[in-house]
Symmetry: C2
Subunit: 142 residues, 2 copies
Amino acid sequence: MTTTDLLSRLRGRDWRLSAQRRAVAEVLVGDHVHLTAEEVHELARSRLPEISRATVYNTLNELVAMGELGVVDVVDGPRRYDPYVTAHHDHLVCDRCHTIRDVPRTTALPQVADDARGGFLVTGVEITYRGLCPDCAARYGR
Amino acid sequence: MTTTDLLSRLRGRDWRLSAQRRAVAEVLVGDHVHLTAEEVHELARSRLPEISRATVYNTLNELVAMGELGVVDVVDGPRRYDPYVTAHHDHLVCDRCHTIRDVPRTTALPQVADDARGGFLVTGVEITYRGLCPDCAARYGR
DNA sequence: TTTACTGCAAACCGTTTGCAGTTCC
DNA sequence: GGAACTGCAAACGGTTTGCAGTAAA
């Protein structure tokens, strides 16, 4: 996702583009991934010192509602945001240090058994792989 | 999971078995699934009126740490607990009303691509299917 | 008898909200 | 000019914690 991509998509949605919202959007396009709201706030403040926490939360919530930003709720602690919504990918989570790594989806798409679906309309699948990151595996795993 | 199963497993771990812990364990074995801590507290109170919220939280956290209870963090709002840890199953989540339904895992086990694993030790996989439950699909879906 | 567990209440943390003032279009 | 956005600060909801008292082994 590039800034241009995101900002032009947002303009196309007639979203009022303020300095604050631009700052948040710009933070999201770096190589930062899986930031917390607090981290987004801090980074946005380095561009626009007076931006408030409430505005950051408002903006993040709007981006999520628009489908321009994903939420990752796989670990304890504050919610994390995933700007990489354009390509399908899954998450690899370290159960010890809570690191999250994106992985491309190459596996066959899992399916719900017909007889278990029971009228549910399935529109998406999330896959979370759990385990230990290299560092934690070296220290504690086998 | 039957009461006997759970309680005997807990006794085997030399876990001090108090009336409060027994009440929580008994709540978890009903046909209730995906309860919140608050719901567990309420149900436990009908068995043991003086049980406190703190004790419920303590007990739930201990059971999770022991691996006797799962956490389901797929929706907003309070954390939900999943007592059905003995059999592998996945979750079907309604994005509108946040209903969660268990589904048996019949699909082929997803795999992380070798070249994306990068030293990560993968010990488990969670699959969350998202969509609309029958009621919400009838009302809002197509 | 000793150690671990319980209840209470206050603290905590991440997030949301009400409102007066400001800014974008 | 008017609707929409912002900042502040207080409120909120879920969860955790400190501590004095109680109960299991």
